[in-house]
Each structure stands twice: as structure tokens, then as C-alpha cells.
Amino acid sequence: MSHVRLEVKNLSVSFSTFSGRVHAVRGVSFSLHDGETLAIVGESGSGKTVTCRSVMRLLAKNASIDSGEILLNGTDLLKLSEREMQSVRGRDVAMVFQDPMTSLDPTMKIGRQIEEAITLHQKIGRREARRKVLELLRLVGIEDPKRRSRQYPHEFSGGQRQRIVIATAIACNPQVLIADEPTTSLDVTMQAQIIDLMKELQKKIDTSVIFITHDLGVVANVADRVAVMYAGKIVEIGLADEIFYDPRHPYTWGLLHAMPTLDTHMSSLYTIPGSPPTLLEPVPEGDAFAPRNAYALAVDEKYEPPLFKVSDTHYAATWLLDPRAPKAVPPEILSKRREKYLERRKRDAG
């Protein structure tokens, strides 16, 4: 097994709001290996962004990290002082945000913004830094970098802006790159280009990536492993193939089932009924997904399911995996996909 670069252990984060304490992340654990891409999927409010912002220690003032450890090569980031954290942020762990318009300073030329990211962490002269800016712009595919570096963010299109944000993020060759819905505001063509760019850069600078998205098509394209989050917890985690072709959690079934593919001809799309819980204190006992779950068991109302082991790499938090549980049949479309997958694997092997 490859070396673990980042490890998040039992992370819990809550926010104090006017209506009470909100438990946004409730005991999340995962690891990120060298050079791999882990995709985190889930609905808005499932805690995927909060988890990643905790790694960057970029949480709002009303947030508190109630428990957990975030180990980057063995160092607990949660124990660092703000000053120490500042030297980690941007250098060891960097982030690409969803909206490229708000993550760039509109009053600053883009060359200066990238330069800032470089000089903050590296002791190099202005001239050397400038040279590096041009090199980075070229790397992310901005043509005529010399002229473009003197322009302001509003002079670029959405896709180009995201390229600039990526250039800033990789300026110091971070060990971990967190991409929070980096392509959600872009159209398909742009999205494809940005994803290709990120994959290429990942290889070049040997970084590990956490990719947050709710687009399962994008997940299938980028992810080595996938974590599915619901109501502040990871409900299923595994290799991409395991999640797509052998999902075990009813929520994952719902997500995969709800997305139309180009060969969908059903008269109506499958939907997961209801909406996610608010996670306001007191968080109801039992499985948070139970009220929306057609496969819910009586035990779900009282006890939260632990993560059951499916394989060495695949875990799911549902009582359906308990040996005493009745056998549940996943939606037909998913079992069909699994059959196709097994067939194809057999053919490739033989």
C-alpha cells in the first residue's frame, strides 16, 4: 500500500448559529495517499466543503472543531499555531475554489496575485518570481502570458479565470490540492478542459488531490477513490469501481440512480424523496438517512450504523450489511451496470 500523505481522523465540526448549534461534520475519517485523487460527493449541506476547509483551517469564526486530528505527513495541523498554519497554507496544502470570480482580487493584476502566492512562501527575488509567474501561466494554458499577466480578472473568461486560480494554487507545488467544485460554474467544454489540465498538472507536480463535486460524471472521470457524504458523515467510501459498480449504501444507490445518462429513456427520473436533515442540535438519534430511505430497517431509528467492511478498500455505513439484516436488492439499473462491468472485466482479462 502506498504512503499515506494526509489522514483525517474522527473530525467533528460544529457551528454556533442564531437557531442553535449545527453539527456540520460528525466524525469523519479518511486518508489520502501519495498522488491519488479522492472525490468527495454529496448534496449541499452534507459537510464536504466544511471537511476540506477544516484541513485548510479556513473555517468561519462561528465554527469550532470539536474533535479529531488532521495529520499531514504525521503532523497534526489542528495543533499548529495560526502563524505556523500560514506557512502550511498555500505551500503544503492549497485550494481551488468553486467561483473563480470571487476567489481572485478584482483590483489586482493577475500576475501580481500569482507572484504573491510565490513570494509568500519562497525566498526568491522579484525578477525570479516574475519569471515563475510567466512559466505558471504557460503551464495552465494561458496564451501570451507576458501581456495577460498585466490584466485584471474581469478581462478573462470564466474558464481562463479558473486556470489562473489553479496557477496560484500550484505555485508552490503543494503536496495536497483541494478542489472545491472547481468546474461547477463552467459549461461542459470548459469543464472538460479544466479537468484535463488538473490531471496533467497532478502528474507533473506529484500532488494528491481531494476533489469535491456533486457531478458523478466528473467523479467517474477523475477519482481513484470516492467518499460519499451524507448529513456530516462518510456513509460509503471505496475505489471508484467499487462505488460505481458495487455500491452498498442505499443513499449511494439513490445518487447513482437519480442521474440520467445519455441512454436514459424512463418516463420519469428516480428521485430520493424528502430533503436532508438540518443537523441542528439535538441531532436525532439513529441513522440520519432513515427518513428518506426506502430500505430503512427498524434498527435505523434507534442506532447509527457503523462502517461495515465490504473489502479492504470499501466500507459502507448501513445496517443492511449486518449479517442479521434481510437481503436488500439494489435498483435494477444498478445491478445491470454491475453485470456489464463484470462482463467487461472478464473479457479484458481473457
Binding site: 448534496e43 449541499s44 473568461s157 470564466g158 463552467l186 459549461d187 461542459v188 467544454t189 470548459m190 469543464q191 472538460a192 479537468i195 484535463d196 456533486h214 457531478d215 458523478l216 460524471g217 466528473v218 467523479v219 467517474a220 472521470n221 477519482a223 471508484a240 469501481d241 460505481f244 459498480y245 439513490g254 445518487l255 447513482l256 437519480a258 442521474m259 440520467p260 445518462t261 445519455l262 436514459t264 420519469s268 427520473l269 428516480y270 428521485t271 430520493i272 430533503s275 451496470r337 462491468y341 467487461r344
Partner: protein
């Protein structure tokens, strides 16, 4: 007549003036939509699809060309009476459910705005009853009428936007990227709702989006736009299964599919426009109802 065209758009042009430059965002677009069908308009950002939608509902000036609604030219509608009638029959659902609802108004007043403008309710009671009905139609609780938009999630807000569009019992609705700001599971709910309403109320949709798999799912026919021009149009299945124009091919090849195995082998075909960007080409019929703007060899 089942094949009656509800909307005909001919050589539509819109020019934006930016400083001293004129940008033709829409440059000679023609298509027609039959009653009861869904016409999907797809293309990358900046291709002119939203501009086209906005011209059709007369939210934007039509620089050149004509729009016919039920055979009647509405390009130069004059007189308040005709305009009011047109606005009652043609409604719009906007992309951003956060920006399109007035934050200072209660849901009741947002939904009833059209009812008030057209004096469709005789009494306060009738108005409230109609709002409650509309809320139920879109799957929301009647009691939500006295709340404010910020109290709702994105999917619920979009339902409010749909209720507002339905308030005047329109025939034709322009849906401008109604689901792109929503989560996947919520997208499916909204699309199902739109489909259900279409059957129940015999609605016609112009569905503008860049999410190609959803557009294919909801549309009977689609049009692909590129740089202000319609480059391909035809039955949804046909266009997706046998795309002819290189831009359409490129667009379809860029869609990531929720299937890691096929993703590993998927190759994106980049689109490189020809020297004259297809300006010399006209739309020609490739197969029945399937039109393409490029020549036999695929040059364009």
C-alpha cells in the same frame, strides 16, 4: 392540429453594444417549436442561447428578424392590450433561484405579482386561494405563502419560481437553465415536476441548458448553438446518436459519464473551427427533420 407551430423564430439577430464595438450575440437563428413539445437549446456559455430566450419573451430588444407566436408577428407588438396578452401566455423560469426572487417580498406576493398586474383575482381571498393552489401544484406546503425567499433551499426556491410562471396559466414557458444551480438529486425532482406539469397543463417549453444529458432526457427536439448560430437541430435522440456537425460531436464527446470504465477510454474531440467559421454554410437537411450547418464532407 397536433403539428401546429406555437412559435416560429426567423433569422433572429441581437447585437450588444459594448463601448464602440458591436457584438452580434445571436446571428441569424431560425427554428420553430410545436405545441406541447420541448425544444432544448444547448451550447457553451456565450453562444447566445440565453439571449435568444430573452428575445422570445421580449425581455430583450430584437435587433433583426421576426418571432411569430401562434402565427402572429410579435416582434413589433404595439399597444398595451396585445403586449399584456402576450405576456400572460408566455412566461419564463430563470436560472438563478437566488437572484430571481425579490428578497423583500413574501412568497405569496412573489407568486401573485402577475395575478395582480393582470387583475385576475377579484378578491383577496381568491388571490390567496390561487396562490395556495399553485404552491400545492409545485409540491410545496400552502403555509409557505407567508414566508420570505431566504427561508428556502435552492430546490424549493426554484419551485417558487415555477409557481410564479404558472400563475397566469401560460401556454409557453422559456426555462433558462432552471436546474444548473441545483444539486443532482434536486435536479431530478425539478425535471420530473416540469415534465408532469407539461402533461397536465399541455405546456410547451423552450429548455435552455448546458447539461447535455438532462437536455436530452427532457427534450423532444434540440438545437445546438455555437457563436450566435444554430449549427445543428433535430430530434433529440437522433442528434445525440448521429451528430453530424463537428461542434456537436465535440460537445457530446465532452460529457463525462457516470461510468468509470467508459471514462477511462473516452477521448474528447476538440472542435477547431474552419477558416470562415462556417459563415458560408447554410442549414441543410441531412435527414428528415435533422438540419446541419456544414457541407457533405463535414467542412464548415
Amino acid at each position: 392540429m397536433p403539428d401546429e407551430n406555437i412559435l416560429e423564430v426567423q433569422d433572429l439577430v441581437h447585437v450588444y453594444q459594448t463601448g464602440n464595438r458591436n457584438v452580434p450575440a445571436v446571428n441569424g437563428v431560425s427554428f420553430s417549436i410545436r405545441k406541447g413539445e420541448t425544444f432544448g437549446l444547448v451550447g457553451e456559455s456565450g453562444c447566445g442561447k440565453t439571449t435568444t430566450g430573452r428575445m422570445i419573451v421580449k425581455l430583450l430588444k430584437i435587433t433583426l428578424g421576426t418571432v411569430r407566436y401562434h402565427g402572429k408577428d410579435i416582434t413589433h407588438i404595439r399597444g398595451k392590450k396585445d403586449l399584456m396578452r402576450f405576456r400572460r401566455e408566455v412566461q419564463m423560469i430563470f436560472q438563478d433561484p437566488y437572484a430571481s426572487l425579490d428578497p423583500r417580498k413574501k412568497v405569496r406576493d412573489i407568486i401573485a405579482e402577475g395575478i395582480d398586474a393582470h387583475h385576475l383575482a377579484a378578491s383577496r381571498q381568491e388571490r390567496d386561494e390561487r396562490v395556495a393552489e399553485l404552491l400545492e401544484t409545485v409540491g410545496l406546503n400552502r403555509s409557505f405563502a407567508s414566508r420570505y425567499p431566504h427561508e428556502f433551499s435552492g430546490g424549493q426556491r426554484q419551485r417558487i419560481g415555477i409557481a410564479r410562471a404558472l400563475a397566469l396559466r401560460p401556454e409557453f414557458i422559456v426555462c433558462d437553465e432552471p436546474i444548473s444551480a441545483l444539486d443532482v438529486s434536486i435536479q431530478a425532482q425539478v425535471v420530473n415536476l416540469l415534465k408532469k406539469l407539461q402533461t397536465e397543463k399541455n405546456l410547451t417549453y423552450l429548455f435552455i441548458a448546458h447539461d447535455l444529458s438532462m437536455v436530452k432526457y427532457i427534450s423532444d427536439r434540440i438545437g445546438v448553438m455555437y457563436r450566435g448560430r444554430l449549427v445543428e437541430t433535430g430530434p433529440a435522440d437522433e442528434v445525440y446518436e448521429h451528430p453530424i456537425h463537428p461542434y456537436t460531436k465535440s460537445l457530446i464527446s465532452a460529457i463525462p459519464r457516470p461510468d468509470p470504465m467508459s471514462e477511462r477510454v473516452r477521448r474528447r474531440v476538440p472542435y477547431v473551427p474552419g477558416p470562415d467559421r462556417g459563415i458560408s454554410c447554410r442549414l441543410r437537411e441531412y435527414a428528415r427533420g435533422h438540419y446541419v450547418r456544414c457541407d457533405e464532407a463535414g467542412n464548415f
